[in-house]
Structures are given as structure tokens and as C-alpha cells.
């Protein structure tokens, strides 16, 4: 009989699995788990999942190889990477390979709850997109843009500055938006570290910056009217204008939006 779960957790540490289960229970999500990748692949064949949370450092097959394996068998369940080796490189690599998000260990209860919330929304958005291909709910980002994973976009201007913003997909997965907390002018963004907090009800969603650089302009309009980002995330709903620090290096790990069509 085919089981139906919300979440599949893959981690070789029982305490981590228990932690995720504990948090998931608060929202009554159904959860399944596995200690290693081969067992997880078996479970994926038998059951239906809405979201996978996978550790990077696993015995035999690691998390990165797992993502590749999923793509080979055309498994489209969204996957979130997690690791105790919380480096920027690991976060960027996860998002570049196709993970929808990255959560460093140890995580706060609220961080995990908001992640589960948007992760589970993601699959339903994908299904909606597939069913309503004529009525395009999710507008892809303009083709000259780049994106880090599926959440944060970057538009490189002719003058060398870069506009940073959140993708429509991210916005749709966190709606409705009550408030946006932004950094100040002059502060430094780091690629794959939080650059904005988007508050939706009791959830706080962290948006990871697509590039590193110094903020030279902040879209103040969003603080007063956060709904703008829902209407026009790619133009009027931009977040920051930055002077990038290491554009050439960091751009290698961004996905050109043009490749989405």
C-alpha cells in the first residue's frame, strides 16, 4: 500500500531526526525518516512525499550525490539540505545543485517551522503550475537575471551595481506577507546568508542573498507597502542595490534565469 507522508528526513544522527519530528508534530505534519540514502530511495519508490530534508554528510552516498540521483530518476519532490558543517560553500553548492533551500544545524524551532511551511507549499505550487500552464501563476524571472537556488535573484546593471530581490516562487511560497525586515544602507551582504526577513503571520522566512556586496540603496517602499513585492517581485519589488564584492567568482554558482525557458 502506498503511504502518503508530508516529510522524509534523511540524517545519520537520531537526535536530528527526533528534533525534526518534534517540530513537525507542532503542525501535525506526517513524517517518515531514513538513516541513509539507499533506504530513502526505496521509500521514495513506495511512498509519496511532499518534501525531503537531507543531511549533506552521510555514510556511503552523501547529500550532494543524492540530489544527482533524484534528478536521474526524475523524482521531483523538493529537497532541503542541512548540515552541521555550516559553511557558505556548502549552502551555495546545495542551492546550485537544485535544493530548494538550505538550513544550517543547529536550527531554531521557528526556523525549521517556517522552512517546513514554505517547503510544503512549494510542491503544491509546482502541481498548480503543471495543471494551469495557461494561467501562469508563477512568473519566471526575466531572462537576463540570475538566481541563487529558487529564492533570490540578481540583476547585474551596466554601471556595475547589482539589484537583489526575491523570486516570485519564494514570494508565493510565503504568502501572505505582513512585513519585510531589511538591512540598512552601508551594511554588507554575504552570499547564501540571510539578507531579509519576510514575516507572514507567526512565521519568519529568511531570504538568502544571491551575491555578496555592500548595500548602497534599500527599497524603503517595501517597508511601508510590503504587498508591492507580491505584485511585482522583479521590478518594483526589488530589495537592495549593492556594489558586489566578488561578482566574477560568485556568479559561477548562480543559475541564469534564461535557462528556465
Amino acid at each position: 500500500m502506498k503511504g502518503n507522508y508530508d516529510i522524509l528526513v534523511i540524517d545519520d544522527e537520531k537526535v536530528v531526526i527526533d528534533s525534526v519530528i518534534k517540530i513537525a508534530q507542532l503542525e501535525n505534519y506526517t513524517i517518515d525518516f531514513s538513516f541513509e540514502v539507499n533506504e530513502a530511495l526505496e521509500k521514495l519508490k513506495q511512498n509519496e512525499y511532499q518534501l525531503i530534508i537531507c543531511d549533506i554528510m552521510l555514510p556511503e552516498i552523501d547529500g550532494f550525490q543524492f540530489i544527482n540521483l533524484l534528478q536521474k530518476i526524475n523524482e521531483d519532490t523538493p529537497i532541503v539540505m542541512t548540515t552541521g558543517y555550516t559553511t557558505i560553500e556548502n549552502a551555495v553548492k546545495s542551492l546550485y545543485l537544485g535544493a530548494i533551500d538550505f538550513i544550517p544545524k543547529p536550527f531554531l524551532l521557528d526556523e525549521m517551522l517556517s522552512l517546513l511551511k514554505r517547503g510544503l507549499k512549494y510542491k503544491s505550487l509546482l502541481n498548480q503550475k503543471r495543471n494551469n500552464s495557461t494561467n501562469n501563476i508563477i512568473v519566471s524571472c526575466p531572462s537576463k537575471y540570475f538566481r541563487l537556488g529558487i529564492s533570490c535573484w540578481a540583476n547585474i546593471d551596466n554601471d556595475g551595481s547589482v539589484l537583489i530581490g526575491a523570486t516570485n516562487f519564494f514570494i508565493k511560497s510565503v504568502e501572505p506577507i505582513n512585513k519585510i525586515e531589511l538591512l540598512e544602507n552601508g551594511e554588507i551582504l554575504t552570499q547564501a546568508l540571510t539578507c531579509a526577513k519576510i514575516i507572514s503571520g507567526e512565521y519568519v522566512h529568511n531570504l538568502y542573498s544571491s551575491l555578496s556586496g555592500r548595500i548602497i540603496d534599500v527599497n524603503k517602499l517595501l517597508i511601508q507597502k510590503p504587498e508591492i513585492i507580491e505584485k511585482d517581485p522583479y521590478f518594483e519589488g526589488w530589495l537592495y542595490r549593492i556594489i558586489p564584492h566578488e561578482l566574477d567568482y560568485e556568479r559561477q554558482k548562480l543559475i541564469p534565469c534564461g535557462s528556465d525557458r
Partner: protein, 622 residues
């Protein structure tokens, strides 16, 4: 056996000496023999002429009896073998050996041979041909024969006896034979003496060669070979003994310098590999610690959510959550330290950080009965800093102080604001010459900071100077000996381009000045006279005084011995044995350096230690 340089040298030099001495001895003996023989010959010829003249009168008088008597008497001399007088026909007329008288000699007889060899009798015989050396069977030693022809003279054929006619040129021959026994003895004696001399010379030269080569070549070479083997086996601190001032001595000195450099480089490599393994350690620790922290954080924040009606429990749980989050940041900091990334800096109140740090260690203070005195400046300006990292610094310093003091000790933490002129504070982190060569030396450190390496020349010598990287301070290290007030020619160690600027004089002493390019921060100028400390950096001076927040952590503990003061900020240096990792203060140093601040330590054994941290208000010094 012949594989060593010394045995080859001994062999070659010995062989050459042998040949030279042999040739010399041979020529010497031959020469002596010739001299001796010619002396005997001269003597014989003299005797022969003397006898001829002495008997001349008797011959004229034809007094044969007296003549025979003289011949016999002279012939009695033991050195004279025989005296004979022959007539033209070869008949022996007089002889010292009586029985020979009347005997006829053949022309082929050895005494006739000189004149009659070519069948025709010579009428004049040159003196050198008159002598001959021969041996006879009945006589053991060699014999020297001297022939003296008796020429016909007018008084001979005009004599009353009319014994000779006027036609013959030679009337007879006086033949004296001398025994060479004594001479041969002398020659043999000379030969033996020469041989003994040669042998002694060869042996003594050989011994001297062996001795000197052993001392001047063999021993030093062996010492160098030994040193090479020691270095090869990894003993880099091995030093070759002083081998004097010759080429081998110089080689030994160069060898020692080389191995010392090798040793230093190796130690640095060791240090950096220690740092690299620190990175690996950090990665491992991060992975291992973050998993259990996940459990702590999840369950405590879960409990926090479920116990909203119990404020007492909430407060305790909040401490767990807060400190777990701090642990998360510490682990992240450890990863950051290994990766040398920048801290997360925000506007921070140092006093608040100190209060938080104290609350974390308050239990430990209570257990050890330590009183903590706070002297915090009330209107401390906010500074740009990473609050978590600085909290870690304060906690570490307090914990170190607790370890250093006995029960009942005292810790005092103070904060203050001070404005300082940039001189003596600002570190010169970059400097280049006008050809853009880097002048910073990463090996030679002054007070733990990279120094500035410049080439210096005086009238008599040249070398390097390592400038104090702190603007305005003059703890320079000079590589050569200099006199007070000596003027230095300063140039770039890479391209040797002069760094002295013409047309400008030091306002203090009037001497020449040097100028270094500080990328993006103008130029720094200084006096090129030894022991003159004038420096000017317009770019920095224009900002005026810089505001710092100063934190001091003071204890009355056991203190740090002076020999350890330099090392305490090095990674893995610890005096706590198994209890410490030796990382605490090196991480602190890294954090403060990342904040462009300084940390200093003063300590007195038995009295206590003061750590002073100065952080620039703006997060940067300029």
C-alpha cells in the same frame, strides 16, 4: 681504501715526492762520483808528470839502477798499483813489480789501447784520453791507469849515450796504475748515504702529508659529511663545528647558515600546518558538535513553546536557548577563524557584552569565591563589532583569570573611552616601493606584527632593516651595526631602487628622508638617519585623534613568566597541560585583529595580569 679524498691526495702527493727525491738523489750521487773520479784522475796525472820530471835527469845520465830504484820506491805507496816504463817496442824496462822487467806488451794490451787502437800510433795523446778504468782478475778493486808518453827531445838524441835517434817522436811510455779501492769505498758510502737520506725524506714527507691532510682535509670533510647525514635524517638543528677560515671553514659556515634557514622555514611550515590542522579540527568539531546542539536547541525551544504559563521555567529555558545559540556562533566562529572570514559587525554596546559575559561565568566566580569588580564607563559609544565574538573574548579572558587566581582572588573589568593620536597606534599593513614591490616582511615580526623590510647601505657596509610597522614607533631591527647619527641610503630589497627623496630634509635633524608608498593611503615619510625617529603620514594625520573603546581585564593571580609573554597568543601554546587546547588566546587575538583592534598584556609574577583591548569606535582605524 682509495675512495676517500685524503687517501687519493696522499697517494698522488706521495708518488710525486718519491719520483722527485729519487731523481734528485740519483743525480746527486752521480755528480759526487764524477767529482771524486776526476779528482783521482787529476792526482794521477800530476803524479805521472811529477815522476816523469823527477826521472828526467837520471834518464839523461842513463843511470838505470837509480831509475829502477825510484820507480820501486814510489811504487811502494799502497795506493799505487804499479809503475811501468815501456820503450817504443813495448818492452817493460822499469817496473815497480820487479818480475815484469823485460816482458813485452802486446799492442792490444789495455795500457796500449788508447794510442794503438786504430793501428796507427798517436803521437799526441790529449790528457782526458790518457786515463782508463779497468778491473783485473787478480785484483779485486777497480784500477785507474794513466799513460804518459815520453816524447823525444833534442837533449835525448843529443845525449852522450846516443841511445835514441832523432827520428822517433815518442821514446816510451810511463804507465802508472792506481788502485781505486779507497775511492770506490767513498762512492759506495755516498750511495748508501744518499739512499738513506732519500728514504728518510720520503718517509718524513709522507708522514707530514698524511698528518696535514688528516687535520686540514680529512677531519673537516668527515665533519661536513656527518652534518649532511644529520640534516638528511631530519636533525635540522645540527651545527657544524668551527672549521677555521679556509675554504672548508667558509663552507661549514655557509652550511650552518643554510641549515638554520632550513630549520626556520621548517618551523614556519610546521606552524602553518598546525594552523591548517586547526582548520580541519574546526570542520570536524563543527560537524560533531552541531548535531547534539540541534537536539538541545530543538527540545529547549520546544519546551519554551509549551510552557508559556510558567515564567520561572521560561527564564531558565531562555538561558539554555541563548547559550546554545552562542555555541552555534562559536562553532561558526571556529569555522570562520579557520577560513579567515570577516566577522558579522553591527552597532554594539561593549558594556552590555561584558554584562552578558559576566552572567555566563557568574556561577564559576561564585564557586571559586572570586569577587568581580566592574568599572564600566557609563556613556560608552556604540562600536561596530561582532557582539558574539567579543562576548567570547571577554568570557575567555575571565575564565583565564579564574584559572590564574587562588580562591578569594579578585578580577577587575573596566571600560573607558580614549582618544589617541594616530602615532604609535596605527599599523602599516601595506607598503610598496615606487615600482610596486611589496615591502612587508611576513617572517620577521616586531611585537607580533609583520615588519617592513628595507635595504640599507652606509659608506662601509650594507644590509637590511626591519621597520616597526606601528606608525611613529621606532622598535626597528637593524641587520648591521650602525653608529648614532649615521646616514643611511635606503632602497627596495627587490629592485634596489632608492627610496630616498631628494630636495626634502628631515625637519628634526636636517638629514635625508625616505618615502614609502602606502596603497590607497598616501605616503609615509621618515628620517633616514640612524636613531632619528621622525615619521610623517599625512593621510593618517588628517583624521586627527582616533576614538577607541578600551577594555581592561585585570586579575591578582599568579602572573605570566616573562619568557612566555611573547608566546601566549600563538596557537596551541598552553601552560594548562591536558586541560587546555592552547587555542583560546590565539582565537582572541584573531578576533581582535579582525576588528582592527589591539590586545596587549602586562604581567608580573605573583602580582597579576592585565589584558588591555582597544577597539576603534568606527570598526576601522580610519
Amino acid at each position: 681504501m682509495f675512495n676517500t679524498i685524503s687517501s687519493k691526495l696522499i697517494l698522488i702527493v706521495g708518488f710525486t715526492a718519491l719520483i722527485i727525491i729519487a731523481i734528485y738523489s740519483y743525480l746527486n750521487i752521480k755528480n759526487q762520483t764524477d767529482v771524486l773520479l776526476s779528482e783521482v784522475e787529476r792526482h794521477g796525472n800530476q803524479l805521472s808528470d811529477m815522476l816523469k820530471n823527477a826521472t828526467d835527469n837520471l834518464m839523461m845520465r842513463n843511470d838505470r839502477v837509480r831509475l829502477q830504484e825510484i820507480v820501486e820506491r814510489v811504487g811502494n805507496d799502497p795506493l799505487i798499483h804499479n809503475i811501468r816504463i815501456l820503450n817504443k817496442e813495448g818492452e817493460i824496462i822499469y817496473s815497480s813489480t820487479h818480475k815484469d822487467i823485460g816482458m813485452m806488451l802486446d799492442k792490444k794490451a789495455e795500457s796500449c789501447f788508447a794510442c794503438h787502437a786504430e793501428n796507427k800510433p798517436l803521437e799526441k795523446l790529449p790528457i782526458k784520453n790518457r786515463t782508463r778504468i779497468f778491473s783485473t782478475k787478480e785484483h779485486s778493486s777497480r784500477i785507474l791507469g794513466i799513460i804518459n808518453p815520453i816524447d823525444n827531445k833534442p837533449k835525448c838524441y843529443q845525449a852522450d849515450c846516443h841511445a835514441h835517434s832523432e827520428n822517433s817522436t815518442v821514446l816510451g811510455v810511463l804507465d802508472i796504475t792506481l788502485s781505486l779501492q779507497e775511492v770506490d769505498k767513498q762512492i759506495l758510502h755516498n750511495e748508501i748515504q744518499g739512499l738513506i737520506f732519500s728514504l728518510i725524506a720520503i718517509i718524513s714527507i709522507g708522514l707530514i702529508i698524511i698528518f696535514t691532510i688528516k687535520i686540514y682535509v680529512d677531519k673537516p670533510v668527515k665533519e661536513l659529511v656527518k652534518a649532511t647525514e644529520q640534516i638528511a635524517s631530519g636533525n635540522l638543528s645540527y651545527k657544524v663545528k668551527d672549521l677555521g677560515n679556509d675554504e672548508l671553514g667558509k663552507l661549514a659556515k655557509a652550511f650552518n647558515e643554510m641549515s638554520q634557514k632550513l630549520d626556520e622555514t621548517n618551523k614556519q611550515l610546521y606552524q602553518s600546518s598546525k594552523l591548517a590542522s586547526l582548520g580541519q579540527l574546526a570542520a570536524g568539531v563543527a560537524h560533531e558538535i552541531n548535531n547534539p546542539l540541534t537536539g538541545v536547541l530543538t527540545y529547549s525551544s520546544y519546551l519554551l513553546k509549551r510552557t508559556k504559563d510558567n515564567p520561572q521555567l521560561q527564564e531558565d529555558l531562555n538561558v539554555i536557548v541563548r547559550e546554545t545559540l552562542r555555541s552555534r556562533e562559536i562553532v561558526k566562529g571556529l569555522l570562520d577563524f579557520a577560513r579567515q572570514s570577516t566577522p558579522k559587525k553591527i552597532q554594539t554596546d561593549i558594556n552590555e557584552i561584558i554584562e552578558r559575559a559576566i552572567s555566563v561565568v557568574s556561577n564559576q566566580l561564585k564557586i571559586n569565591h572570586i569577587t568581580l569588580e566592574k568599572n564600566l564607563f557609563k556613556n560608552l559609544p556604540l562600536i561596530i563589532a561582532d557582539a558574539n565574538q567579543l562576548q567570547q573574548v571577554i568570557i575567555n579572558l575571565i575564565v583565564n583569570a579564574i584559572d590564574a587566581i587562588e580562591k578569594g582572588g579578585k578580577i577587575k573589568i573596566s571600560t573607558s573611552v580614549l582618544s589617541l593620536p594616530p602615532k604609535g597606534i596605527i599599523q602599516i599593513k601595506k607598503a610598496v616601493c615606487n615600482k610596486n614591490h611589496n615591502l612587508i616582511d611576513y617572517q620577521h615580526k616586531i611585537a607580533g606584527l609583520n615588519s617592513i623590510k628595507l635595504k640599507i647601505k652606509t659608506a662601509t657596509s650594507e644590509g637590511f632593516v626591519f621597520l616597526d610597522p606601528i606608525y611613529g614607533k621606532d622598535r626597528h631591527n637593524f641587520g648591521i651595526n650602525l653608529k648614532q647619527g649615521e646616514i643611511l641610503n635606503i632602497s627596495c630589497p627587490t629592485c634596489d631602487n632608492s627610496l630616498i627623496i631628494k630636495n626634502e630634509k628631515c625637519p628634526k635633524c636636517g638629514g635625508p628622508i625616505y618615502k614609502l608608498n602606502i596603497p590607497n593611503q598616501g605616503f609615509i615619510e621618515g628620517c633616514a638617519t640612524f636613531k632619528s625617529d621622525w615619521q610623517k603620514w599625512n593621510y593618517i594625520d588628517q583624521f586627527g585623534e582616533i576614538k577607541f573603546v578600551e577594555i581592561t581585564v585585570e586579575d591578582n593571580g599568579c602572573g605570566i613568566p616573562p619568557e612566555n609573554l611573547d608566546k601566549i597568543f600563538e596557537p596551541f601554546f598552553t601552560t594548562k597541560g591536558q586541560k587546555g587546547t592552547g587555542l583560546g588566546l590565539s582565537v582572541i587575538w584573531g578576533i581582535i585583529d579582525n576588528h582592527n583592534g589591539t590586545i596587549n598584556v602586562q604581567s608580573e609574577i605573583g602580582k597579576g595580569t592585565i589584558f588591555t583591548i582597544r577597539l576603534p569606535e568606527k570598526g576601522e582605524v580610519i
